[in-house]
Symmetry: D2
Subunit: 347 residues, 4 copies
């Protein structure tokens, strides 16, 4: 058995979603997100965020969400600030720039942008007399968990939020893996905290139980006018919006979203134990569902016959950093197979 640990989207949807798709399949519902399940999902998300006035919209995927949200919030002369490791900067094929806006990357540490780095940059920018020829910071982008699986502490996010508010720049949080962040044992942030500290963020469905779908939540900034129109202009408005609405309605019933996230991080903790038991050195051990392992290249050939992983980067001439990810769908037998595989290789 080949164990698939290469990512957290190698699965279908959770059983509850499939069940509800079956139950509601024959209903006649209006299109473009105006159906009752979308409405119900929005109400449940508002409640989970502790924010009655939040505006919520559903999009299909993460890159699409980032591009639509960022370009709808930026004004002509503005760009978006992020850590150099930000997903929008590295792995979205230039989707943000395609909307005509620059990404202003700042140095980060383990995927995180610090309030100090941001503050220093903003201070320097506003002191610079040639700033009229520079791209203005119009939005700050962070991810939670980050692309490295790390987490901002409540204090760190609050500090970032303070800097943003001082400069009146909205703070946008990419929550593609939000469930795995919030349910981490090390997390000291709740969903209502995020709703308060950020101005807009999204709750990732694709990687946490859904076939597809991300829920964008506007709390500190107003929904950009004609937002669904702009989604359409971007090719991001599904005719059968019910597909997204129903999935999120399900995920936010009975805390399912959180339970799925919890399962993912629980399985990650078990995976970490197995990896440690077999002496595999961590390049980066994280409190969420992604773990980064330093592998000798000669081990990778036998390992890849047993386990699918993601290449992360070359560490040196003879070593490679790989990523192993669990998810809401990871099963006991998969971890057992990993243990066996490692035993065989003698990892």
């Amino acid at each position: 058995m080949l164990v698939s640990l290469e990512c957290d989207y190698n699965n279908g949807a959770c059983d509850q979603i499939l069940r509800r798709l079956l139950e509601t399949n024959r209903e006649r519902l209006p299109g473009y997100g105006t159906d009752k399940y979308s409405e119900s999902a929005k109400a449940k998300i508002r409640s989970a965020c502790g924010c009655d006035t939040a505006d919520i919209e559903f999009l299909a995927g993460g890159t699409q969400t980032n591009a639509v949200v960022i370009s709808s919030l930026l004004r002509n002369h503005e760009g978006v600030v992020c850590a150099g490791t930000g997903h929008i900067h590295v792995h979205e094929a230039g989707a943000i720039e395609y909307t005509g806006h620059k990404i202003i990357s700042l140095p980060g540490v383990l995927g995180k942008l610090s309030a100090e780095t941001l503050s220093n940059y903003l201070e320097r920018f506003h002191d610079d007399p040639s700033r009229e020829h520079m791209v203005w910071p119009g939005l700050v982008y962070v991810s939670y968990p980050t692309e490295y699986g790390t987490l901002y502490s409540a204090a760190e996010l609050a500090a970032l939020s303070d800097v943003c508010r001082e400069y009146r720049i909205p703070l946008f949080l990419d929550g593609a893996r939000l469930g795995y962040g919030l349910m981490s044992r090390e997390a000291d942030l709740t969903l209502p905290d995020i709703a308060k500290l950020c101005d807009v963020f999204y709750i990732g469905g694709t990687k946490v139980g859904a076939f597809c779908g991300e829920a964008v939540v506007f709390t500190g900034v107003e929904l950009p006018e004609h937002f669904t129109h702009f989604m359409k202009k971007h090719g991001a408005l599904l005719a059968k919006g019910r597909l997204l609405g129903l999935q999120f309605d399900t995920l936010f019933t009975d805390d399912l979203y959180f339970r799925l996230g919890e399962h993912g991080v629980h399985m990650a903790e078990r995976m970490k134990t197995i990896l440690r038991e077999h002496g595999l050195p961590f390049f980066l051990e994280t409190p969420t569902n992604q773990q980064f392992i330093l592998m000798a290249d000669h081990q990778l050939v036998p390992f890849s016959k047993q386990v699918t992983y993601s290449y992360w980067e070359k560490a040196d001439a003879d070593h490679t950093v790989i990523r192993l990810a669990t998810s809401w769908a990871t099963r006991d037998d998969e971890l057992e197979a990993l243990r066996e595989a490692l035993g065989v290789i003698g990892g």
Copy 2:
């Protein structure tokens, strides 16, 4: 019972798709359209098109597909030609122009662009010494069925194709409702015909049995290099590409796509009979699944309490054109309810 005839996307997915989603849900599959179901679907579509060399890619919705395909095929100085009623020109919120390209609209008749109109335009364009300051025609867009539910005959599409090939301009066919066109009793075009006459086209899934998804088929032009990369740049690459691949794999098993289309047009023929029996005047009677009815405004209030319809346009001070659509999902009881509603209103 309120009868929903306002569109052909007020339903879920066909039973076969739901069944296969359930069956395959726990499989571990690679992302971004590299899964085995996507591969299988492509092979089946190639076979149905009678074109072994076709390249096929899956996107989530129609506007997205139009924007990605058109902008990936146009060169910097080019625009896309279509009838003034073309969906891309009227109802896609400016999605094509958002990619930086102009739509060159020509007069059409009942939604169709004639070879003569196109040829005259192209001849004038190439005779015009100021054409270097004009947008060059780089692609011709038609829809089948058109936005008015009408169909190109084989002769008409062949004539358009001839003009395009004379001028070396690719012909792109928007098949958002392709199933209802191909299965119309008046259609004299097959899928292999379309694959031969057009250079690129898409097979609409959203409106013919799927939750979402359109299959783009490149036959006469090469797949633009790095096409999936460009999809990503456009925010149009789903992480769980299996969702699209599996749906099309199902739709192209046992001619399901065609059977669904056939059901839709069969129900439309029955609906036309009911409408005629009740003396409702057709604004435009079509051979496909959309019918356009001229209603006196005083009838619309009682009618709307029984039937949901789409507003199409004002006809005069006292009359409105409405659209009624059937689909693969339209049921007998719905048509019966329509008959009853019309009896009550005395339409």
Copy 3:
């Protein structure tokens, strides 16, 4: 001698501009339009417009001006409305669409958009329940004189302005040839009238005395924030802004701009007399500096050996419409040479 009547930009700059370029050449001046001549030019234009609060910016050419102004005023979901013959729609190579916005073209008559046509369109648009999938009208574009050399009357422009204000849509006037319009014997509009009726317009320098340069005047709408920044982003901010400022400062000293315009239309009147005397049929006789003549094709070969003209369009199998243009720089000897050429051809 070959007589050049093909356009109104086949000349250099007026003597006064050259003289002042020489006089000021060695001055050290700050860049990017912050020099004293740009300031002085703005003050003089404000005065000529009778509008103390107008904001004014200088750009280098017409297409650039149209693209920068239009895209800086439109919101994400909006497009610009114009007559089907509008320069932005026909002869600007897709420059507006390149900024991501659609041009919504309406039928015009002799280059003009009527208030009635605009009003009907806007009424229909706002009645259409599917307008959220359509491009919203966010700006109305007219040209004065139009691309056909025709003029809006004061009543016509006021009516357009009323419709725009009723719908709260800014009215933008392209004045690439404004001087030839305002100084036409048939004009009943003044520069202050235009400043009042329009919300933003530009005063064309390139075709009326300058080497290059257009002055954009914002009267009814505020200058978009960070406008010069957006000009830079568009590649439209000249380092030596003095080149534009000084030219407009000269053009708006001692009514030079108006005198240049007057000369151009005076020469056009004389040209019209010559053409009429030789029996050349007008396709369109205009009150400005461009005249449209219907020529038999067999006459064009000898004619083209004596006179350079612009091809406009084919009239029928044997006839062609050509354009002859005078300008501020047209000389007596040129019109005499035209008279001789026509005598020889027997036009």
Copy 4:
């Protein structure tokens, strides 16, 4: 007397250009760069570059040139690579991203990108399995002189060129100040060398003797098809192209461009001596026309009453880096006035 040393575009045009504008002003010439002076200028530039087959086009300014050239050469999935200090990355208001393409910035040293840094990046990129989600390097941008006034040696540029050719990526050189680079006493590169080592580059006119204008030279890559059309689409095609053609025709007659450049660097050497004599510490002493001085903040107030300079960046709490620039137009009396000003301040 206030001495203006803040930049190299605070002047008009050189006398020879003004003289020729006067001489040719009354000639009737065709528009859009098709005039005889533009042709003549192209021939002279080809000759100066030692490249008979070069294609040459004229644009009005540097940012415009960078945006048009870069976006016309990049394919959909590609971005442009440059040093983090590259003008396009820092001071062009996001003009490149506005065309939909990402700038991939790499660490540079004193404004220069090394062949090793580029090579390492390209090797890593092509080894990265997730590169399909990353922006592909499609062009390499360098500036000569750099934004810091430094110069690539012949060996350094040749090494960069080798890496680019190994990876089949065109090398683009921004020569906004090319004259001051080529005529530096430390330069070991000639114009023909640059034509051979680069694939496309531009010869800056705005900062070296002209009112405006940059000449793009395509040597190693073909002129993108319909390039002037794309210029028009970008709003970058001047109606009176003669203004650019004539200026470059003049600059490339009797080696004027090189003599102007030589004057600028000669005056810079004299300025450096004066600065040194007065003990002003160099932050960066360069072999071209821009010098970077470290000033104590308390000195800046009196200094700024005598000399206009450019703020470059804060060095520490009490010191500021400023830039002083000479140009082709710097006069003896200006340097004398600088000497006097420094004497007064006791710099």
